[in-house]
Amino acid sequence: MTSELQYIELYNEASDLIKSKSCPVMNTVRDEAFATFQRLGFPSKKVERYRYTDVDAAFAPNYGISLSPLTVKPSAYIYNIQEAPIDVTPYYHRIADHTDAITALNTALVHDALLVYVPKNTRVEDPIVVDNWLRGTAATMMNRRVLIVMEQGADATLIINDHAADKQRFLTTQVIEVFCHDNARLDLYEIEETTPLCSRFSNVYIQEGRDCNVKHNSITLFNGQTRNLCDVYLQGENSEVTLNGCAIATGSQRIDNNTLIRHEVPNCTSDELYKYVVDDKAVGAFAGKILVEKDAQKTSSHETNANLCASSDARMYTQPMLEIYADDVKCAHGSTVGVMDEAALFYMRQRGIPEAEARTLLKNAFMGQVIDQIKYEPLRQRLAVKVEKRFRGELEKCDDCRLCK
């Protein structure tokens, strides 16, 4: 518990500079968030939701902090928060967990934010795409903030791609707050394709009103160390949420997904499917809690975490949780951890399919179920190809990014 000190010093030295580059809505909550961080420190493994990730170690190296302004290419529905077309005060840092140290640190240090704003009853046909490029000539810390406001009846698909463009150590913190007003629909895809030198701490908070439908897809194709949190608050009746996760880890990569779906009102549906393939010495962790509050009658909820340990040195931790305080609900949860099916491997090899190819086919088949859930077809096809390439070991760098070539 020593890594905090450098961030506390950093804040004491640089907070005026950060504030000068930022805007009132962000500065208003900054000092308080810093005080929270100072009080909490980095969570140790004794903190339930951080038990699978060594946060202190991840934040220990000396990173330079990036304060370059957020560049937003002019496009519909995407804004730099400093040029927001709406008052974002009712949204910024409102549903983000004020007791989470990473969220607090992000709120203290972040100087710029991205706003995705879809006005009332607007249906956006083509997906809105956000490409994040990690660039730097020295080890760099990036603090990223995204605010997504879906007004009543808004409907959009948002794809957020994370790339690392330089072979450099990057530490990213990210907080995304999603507000879905009544009858809004959002498909949110987060696709990480970085490098083994990258550490990522991402906290996503989603609030749904009545008759909403949100799908969140978290896809970790290539990374270093990743810890994703996703919290969903179902606050209006007849709303749905789907959380899908695809995690592929090889080498000494680590992927830790932690989710919470809180049913606060009756008649909502949640569906969750996370699949992992961990190989070599990689470590995967999944902890997902479904919380059904006292008044949330007629809740329907289904949570599955299925995992394939493709090598004897790979490790998987899984913890599906159900907490139910209502008495008329339909909930199911479960998890499995399996190894490669030796009988299937033998069958395929007897037909002449080389062992490596047979393993690839089996891993691909296992992950296919999650990829099939992707609704936006061009993305589904692209990811199907990428996942297969990943299993063939052909995805060492992001192949469609010009910067890598």
């Binding site: 395929m348 090899r349 037909r351 088949a365 179920q369």
Partner: protein, 249 residues
């Protein structure tokens, strides 16, 4: 083509094969009969190279090559095929993709270009008709939701696609009704050439009515204790194995 000498093999700590000698020439069909647990399936698995079985002594040569030094897939590329007793399901891998990977892997090993998609589908269509297997099964995952009969038919279909020179039919007749047995056996007969040789493992004379063996061997307790011609199978069908055991004692 296949020469087995003094073959000993075990699964875990249990020795199953205790010195098998068997020579199979090109074009010969050898039936292998015997009591449950005698080692028939073990012998098949050792020939095709199932990693769960360990050879402790002896040798197998196939067309002059040391078979035991070859990997499972290399043996398949050399022309060895096994029709499994209980073909397993592979969820998520479509029959078409599975077959394409298998056919092209063998072609690659033989120094041939992979089949073009249209050519591959054409071959699939032709071979499918041969064993009367439904197109809709080809769009499913390997063996997923297939009935017992469909699975066995699918094995012979795969044999048709891969055109092996040496086949093992491991209880291909089990779980088949009379009509399905006829289709599967006739499929095999249509596919075999004058050079194709095979080991046919069965408990019943029925299959051997369709696939006439040149030789019949009786395997008891890990050893071939009696060999003969097709009449031996007939005799076993009528009298069982006890008279052979008595002869041994």
């Amino acid at each position: 083509m296949l020469i087995i000498k003094n073959l000993h093999a075990k699964v875990g700590d249990k020795e199953i094969l205790k010195g098998i000698d068997l020579t199979i020439n090109d074009g010969e069909i050898h039936a292998l009969m015997g009591t449950n647990g005698a080692g028939k399936s073990t012998l098949s698995n050792v020939i095709v190279g199932n990693p769960a079985y360990e050879v402790t002594e002896g040798s197998i040569t196939f067309n002059g090559q040391d078979l035991l030094a070859m990997s499972t897939e290399e043996r398949a590329h050399a022309g060895i095929f096994m029709s499994f007793q209980a073909p397993i399901e592979i969820p998520g891998v479509s029959m078409t993709n599975f077959m394409r990977a298998a056919v092209n892997a063998r072609r690659e090993a033989l120094g041939k270009e992979p089949l073009k998609s249209t050519d591959f589908l054409k071959v699939m269509r032709e071979k499918r008709k041969l064993v009367e297997i439904d197109q809709k099964l080809m769009n499913r995952s390997v063996n997923e939701g297939f009935s017992g009969g469909e699975r066995k038919r699918n094995e012979i279909f795969q044999m048709a696609m891969l055109e092996p020179s040496f086949c093992i039919l491991d209880e291909t007749d089990s779980g088949l009704d009379v009509d399905a047995l006829r289709i599967v056996a006739e499929g095999f007969n249509k596919l075999r050439t004058a050079e194709t040789s095979a080991i046919v493992i069965t408990h019943y004379q029925r299959l051997l009515d369709y696939i006439r063996p040149d030789f019949v061997h009786v395997l008891i307790n890990g050893q071939i204790v009696k060999s003969g011609t097709a009449e031996l199978a007939q005799q076993i069908e009528e009298q069982g194995f006890d008279w052979i055991k008595e002869e041994l004692a």
